[in-house]
């Protein structure tokens, strides 16, 4: 914006110059009357030749040792800035890549962790189920065993009881009836009764 207005001013200025020139003209005409006039436009050798020499000397000096240094430095600076910008750009791209990589890795790790946790949970669940099942099995087994044992005990106890009942009844009967009863016959008789009673019981 600033440059634009400056340009506009410059543009205006050049057109102003023409009017500036015409403003100066009456004065020049005065000079003409005084005999100045055209002599203004004749180069004076005393100014012309020193200028030629001075300009050429300056040109040679500056072209040899002045400007190349300055323009060379300008070029070098340009190049350096361009290079460092490019480097920065590359570094940025690289770091972005790294960041993306790291992000991907992080995501992966997160997914993995989630996986691991899920696996562990599953395994835990399985283990739990297993253990529970085992425990249930075991307890069922134990219960079954206990049942069996109880059954056996019961049977044994019943058998014991039967025998002791038989003995007891025999002895009681023997006591009641007398002692002439042969043990063997009576025993058989009682056993039959008891068996009958047991089968009745069982039924």
């Amino acid at each position: 914006m600033k440059a634009k207005s400056a340009t506009g001013r410059n543009a205006l200025l050049v057109s102003l110059l023409a009017s500036g020139l015409s403003l100066a003209m009456p004065v020049l005409a005065l000079a003409e009357e005084g005999g100045g006039g055209f002599s203004l436009l004749i180069p004076k050798m005393g100014e012309f030749i020193p200028t030629l020499i001075a300009f050429i000397i300056i040109w040679i000096i500056l072209a040899k040792v002045g400007w190349p240094m300055i323009t060379g430095m300008l070029d070098e600076r340009e190049k350096t800035i361009k290079d460092s910008l490019e480097q920065a750009e590359q570094a940025k791209i690289q770091s972005e890549q790294l960041l993306a990589e790291h992000k991907a890795q992080l995501d992966e790790a997160r997914v993995e962790a989630a996986q691991i946790i899920a696996n562990a949970k599953e395994a835990g669940e399985a283990l739990k189920a297993d253990i529970t099942a085992k425990a249930q099995q075991e307890s069922a087994d134990m219960i079954a065993k206990a049942h069996l044992a109880i059954e056996a005990e019961k049977k044994a106890a019943i058998a014991d009881l039967q025998s002791s009942v038989a003995d007891l009844s025999v002895s009681v009967a023997g006591r009641l009836i007398g002692e002439n009863l042969s043990d063997d016959e009576h025993l058989k008789l009682i056993e039959r009764y008891v068996a009958e009673a047991g089968s009745l019981d069982a039924n």
Binding site: A3, K4, T7, G8, N10, A11, L12, V14, S15, L17, A18, S19, L21, S22, M25, P26, L28, A29, E32, G37, F38, L40, L41
Partner: protein, 63 residues
């Protein structure tokens, strides 16, 4: 007389510089991104137009 002639000569140069300035500002306003080129061309055109005024200036001094 020479001064009057020079004044007349300057009218043309002034008009042409004014016109080129008008064109330059118009095109700059329309397309600000090429103002560098436009300005250079404008200066050139103004310089060529001004050259005529300068010839008039020289002639005014000679006459």
């Amino acid at each position: 007389m020479a001064v009057i002639g020079y004044g007349l000569a300057v009218i043309g140069a002034a008009i042409s510089i004014g016109i080129s300035c008008f064109g330059a500002t118009t095109s700059m306003a329309r397309q600000p991104e090429i103002q560098g080129r436009v300005f250079t061309t404008f200066i050139l055109g103004a310089a060529f137009a001004e050259a005529l005024a300068l010839i008039g200036f020289v002639l005014a001094l000679i006459a």
